[in-house]
């Protein structure tokens, strides 16, 4: 695609998309909801006797819509096309186009990975790659939020099976089920219970007893078939020096099959801890599950039940009144509008106590009406006039919340900056295949049985075994089958399995952040700009530091973009005759707006003084500019 063909290619990009429904949701209902929101905002302005903010110009809208909806700036082609067509409905059409882009789920995946703390590896030899893949696919399929929540909270079974890979939500936190539960409450209900893990919350009304009653729902997170394999595991482990090959085979079964499974469905009872300090219970006393608010759900400590996690999921989603819907609606409002109606978004305020009670109630009702379809919900917000309000340079008048006085300026997330740079360096990154899941069996570091059996099948077989004898026989056969590499079938089958798994992108790949290793390595651009390490919930940072500036001046930005003559960005210059035209195209590609007169003068002076090198200097300066790093 060349610069000359911008307009034409733009037409191709947008062709046939306008006027069609997003997904299966009726576009009319989205517009209706958007209008309800705008009316509510207008009502707010009337009641405060304030003038309604202006609407942002096309260029600001373009950049904002791209970054908010799909997490990157438009490519030159996309930008130029939008800016040049004259069509009253073009903003709506752009939103429609963005929500159909694969970039939407890429951007959502970063959000989900931060929220539920998806990391590729645990300490030790088990990992979370099937779970990561599951979350990524759930975002790609736009799985409704209530369904997603239920899958995670009620998870049980084989970590490799695509139907149950959500168990990674729990196995990721192996050995720390109480922290996991605190996080669940914070993520899905905006309820903070960390304090109550150890003592009654002095600032809230949650008591330690309540916390343990809630924890009882998820208690009993064992591994499947652990007892069947353990004696054999000990035996092989103790003799690992003499039996190295068996030991490597055992690592597959013990760490990657059993260690990635989740047994039982939550027992519904739990013992109070040894240091329990209040009069309502004794250390070691067994208590039954009971929910702390909403419509009460209980389980008896005397009955042996196995569906505690399912009951918990059902309570979170269906029995907490409007809380579940309000929390996710507020999270989505923040995502699209920049600020939550109340913040922090994980410290729930019932609608009546929030700064905008009617708006909060309206958003929750829209969320329910759209069946927790997060894409449709964001679509609705993107269609509002409120989303289009011009940028307000002032800080919010509501401490830590939205004051509806126009959009606040904010630094982009690390992922938005990275994905935008990738767009400039290699062009639209959304045509590339998503990161795949390698399901091959690795003994040591060597793939085995390729084309014959993969981890999904192996794990299903192992977890279906019934006795220690069967387990031992299976293990012996597995050792025999994988022992001699020369016996492994190779060749065409290997290719088939690998390609079905999709590509695996290393840390240096110029692809979307969502497809790179998680978390970003500590010396990666993403980490430097504040990407979350995904150890705690939503730990991403937008704090500036000197390393970021060094990176923009001298680092990957220079290597992959400014100083690389093959960078995609420079293709937009083909056929541009005058210096003015070249500068205009660079501005549209990088800042997505034409230069003003003063800037045109600065930049033409630069080209006059430095010729071809001047082009690079202009590119470097534009990428180093604050305007590039901030969302207006």
């Amino acid at each position: 695609m060349t610069g000359c063909g911008l307009l034409l290619s733009g037409l191709v990009v947008f062709a046939g998309l306008s006027g069609r429904a997003a997904g299966e949701v009726d576009p009319g209902s989205l517009k209706k909801h958007a209008l309800e929101i705008d009316r509510q905002v207008a009502e707010f302005y009337r009641s405060r006797k304030l003038s309604v903010p202006e609407v942002a110009d096309d260029a600001t809208f373009l950049r904002r819509a791209f970054l908010v909806a799909i997490g990157r700036i438009p490519s030159s082609e996309e930008a130029l096309f939008f800016l040049e067509i004259e069509d009253a409905g073009k903003r709506e059409q752009l939103v429609d186009y963005l929500l159909k882009s694969p970039g939407f789920s890429s951007h959502m995946s970063n959000w989900a990975f931060d929220l539920v703390r998806v990391v590729d590896r645990n300490r030790g030899r088990s990992h979370n790659l099937p779970y990561r893949h599951w979350v990524r696919e759930a975002m790609a399929d736009n799985m409704p939020w209530d369904e997603f929540t239920t899958h995670l909270l009620a998870a049980e079974g084989n970590g490799w099976d695509p139907a149950t890979a959500a168990v990674g939500y729990y196995t990721r936190d192996k050995g720390m089920p109480l922290d996991n539960l605190s996080n669940s409450m914070r993520i899905f209900l905006g309820t903070r219970m960390e304090c109550a893990q150890c003592h009654d919350d002095p600032f809230g009304d949650t008591e330690r007893f309540d916390f343990y009653q809630l924890a009882a729902f998820t208690h009993g997170q064992g591994f499947m078939a652990e007892g069947l394999l353990r004696p054999l595991y000990q035996e092989v482990r103790d003799a690992r020096m003499e039996r190295p090959q068996e030991n490597r085979a055992m690592e597959v079964l013990w760490d990657q099959v059993i260690g990635m499974s989740l047994d039982g469905g939550g027992s519904g009872s739990i013992s109070l801890p040894g240091d329990y300090q209040y009069r309502d219970g004794d250390p070691g006393e067994v208590v039954g599950a009971r929910t702390p608010f909403g419509r009460t759900v209980r389980m008896s400590p005397r009955r042996s039940e196995h569906d505690g996690r399912r009951k918990l999921a059902d309570w979170v989603v269906h029995r907490t009144d409007a809380q579940f819907a309000e929390v996710i609606a507020n999270r989505m409002w923040k995502r699209v509008m920049g600020k939550g109606l109340y913040e922090p978004v994980d410290d729930y305020k019932p609608a009546a106590q929030s700064p905008h009670p009617r708006m909060m109630a309206l958003l929750a009702s829209i969320m329910v009406d759209l069946d927790y379809d997060l894409k449709a919900f964001q679509h609705t917000l993107l269609l509002t006039r409120t989303f289009q309000f011009a940028t307000n340079p002032e800080v919010s008048k509501v401490e830590a919340g939205d004051d509806f006085h126009g959009r606040k300026i904010q630094r982009l997330s690390a992922e938005q900056i990275w994905d935008s740079l990738v767009t400039l360096a290699v062009g639209d990154p959304d045509g590339k295949p998503r990161r795949g899941l390698d399901t091959r069996i690795h003994v040591g570091n060597r793939p085995v049985l390729v084309g014959t059996k993969d981890m999904v099948q192996l794990s299903r077989e192992v977890l279906a075994l019934k006795t220690r004898e069967e387990m031992r026989a299976y293990f012996d056969e597995f050792v025999r089958a994988t022992g001699d590499s020369r016996q492994n079938p190779r060749g065409r089958n290997e290719m088939a399995v690998m390609s079905s798994g999709g590509p695996s992108y290393g840390r240096g790949a110029m692809v979307r952040a969502s497809e790179l290793p998680s978390p970003a390595p500590r010396d990666h651009f993403l980490y430097l700009f504040g990407a979350s390490d995904r150890e705690v919930v939503e730990a991403a940072s937008r704090e500036p530091n000197v390393g970021q500036v060094l990176s923009l001046m001298n680092g990957v930005v220079q290597d992959k973009l400014v100083n690389d003559p093959d960078a995609h960005l420079y293709k937009c210059l083909e056929g541009a005759g005058s210096a003015e035209e070249r500068i205009r195209r660079l501005y549209i590609s990088i800042l997505n707006r034409p230069p003003n007169e003063r800037e045109m003068e600065w930049m033409t002076d630069e080209l006059d003084a430095r010729g071809g090198q001047g082009i690079r200097n202009v590119v470097a300066a534009l990428v180093m500019s604050s305007e590039f790093l901030f969302l207006q």
């Binding site: 192996k174 050995g175 720390m176 605190s182 960390e194 304090c195 893990q197 150890c198 064992g222 040894g274 240091d275 913040e343 410290d347 340079p393 800080v395 401490e399 830590a400 300026i409 630094r411 500590r522 010396d523 990666h524 980490y527 430097l528 390490d533 705690v536 730990a539 940072s541 704090e543 500036p544 530091n545 000197v546 390393g547 500036v549 060094l550 001046m553 001298n554 680092g555 220079q558 290597d559 100083n563 003063r598 800037e599 600065w602 930049m603 630069e606 003084a609 430095r610 690079r616 200097n617 202009v618 470097a620 300066a621 534009l622 500019s625 604050s626 305007e627 790093l629 901030f630 207006q632």
Partner: protein, 433 residues
Amino acid sequence: MSNNPFLKSDEPTRRRFMATAAGTFLGVHLGPVAGPMVAAAAPLKVPEGKAKHVIYLFMAGGMSHLDTFDPKPKKKEVMGKTTAIASNVDDVMVGHYLPETAKVMDKVCVINSMNSTQGAHEQGSYIMHTSYGLRGTIKHPSLGSWVTKLGGRIHPELPGFVAIDSSPELTGGGFFGAKYAAAPIGSPDEGLKDSHRGTEVSEEDFKRRLSLADKLNRQFHGRYPNADVKAYEELYREAVALMNSEDLKAFDIRKESGATRRMYGDGRFAQGCLLARRLVEHGVRFVEVQLGGWDTHYDNFTGVEGRCKQFDRAYAALLTDLEKCGKLKDTLVVVATEFGRTPEIKEEHNGGRDHHPSAFSCLLAGGGVKGGVKHGLTDSSGRKVKSGAVTVQDFNATIAYGLGLPYDKVLMSPTRRPFSIADEGKPVKELFG
């Protein structure tokens, strides 16, 4: 104190003056020789504290006090697989995973009576770093930012605060702003990434780029007078000064001999400790190095053994090396963590230990701290503090005191709320001698 214009908290004013003076009158950069001279002029001389620098080693995840610096050799059920070994100080014992550390305990003051109110990682590590609880409405400056703010930088071009392998959330400038945030280092081997102009870019073009970017940034900042926008504008000036510094080599551990590098051992943490020593030698005020992975809910003993392999040799080498180059006496070496681990061993988690904020251990060494000393006591199973309790805030006040900084000085946030480096904490003065 307030009458002396040199003792004000806003160090950059003075530093800018120094840099300008050097640029204008001397026509040269402030080189390595100038560093210590500047340091002598810095507002450090509050009589009690001898330390100028801090090396803050943060054991992220919650280091088990029982398996490291507060072993209970008489209680087998508490110790599990860990045994206590003697150190080079009579009544100080350490876990058997720390043979090298055992040989330098004469330089170390162990505080066994640490206690925190926060039992979750995020809150626990936040309060350790800031002295305040985590809030949704304000970001508190990190300890390194406070030290740089109150004590000023030592070297005019090198950052006052460097964080190696740490997380930006814990090493941010908070309401002091980006100029007090740590310069982050992701890989000790690479040093400060991207601190050299690429070979493809001539000096002239580099300057032209900066000048164009500066025009754009002023224009943007004029339109949006926002603190974060301004921060980036200022960081460019900072970054350029750093790039031009003669002392940029402080970040390059490849300049160390093979023998020295081996003495610290392999691994990021070990090499991070070596880099910390280099940075301190060149006049960086505060260096934080993080060692993660202490969250040993599951199979605590294997976990602690693995962590100690990273820690043990590096820590012993750091103290020995600092002493050898004469910097131990003015460098406070801190080992901190967010909480300890439970005396109970969870068999169902393969011998795991859970979080335990009500008693844990931290270490101080160098910078005028008495060595070979233990402060505070826990009960026979290490569950509760029996005497000499030190809160998180007391601990941070002690660090400030060791540096001769006004630990009770109140500074206002932009929202006009009062804060100080250690909140209401009181220093444990008897640790210094």
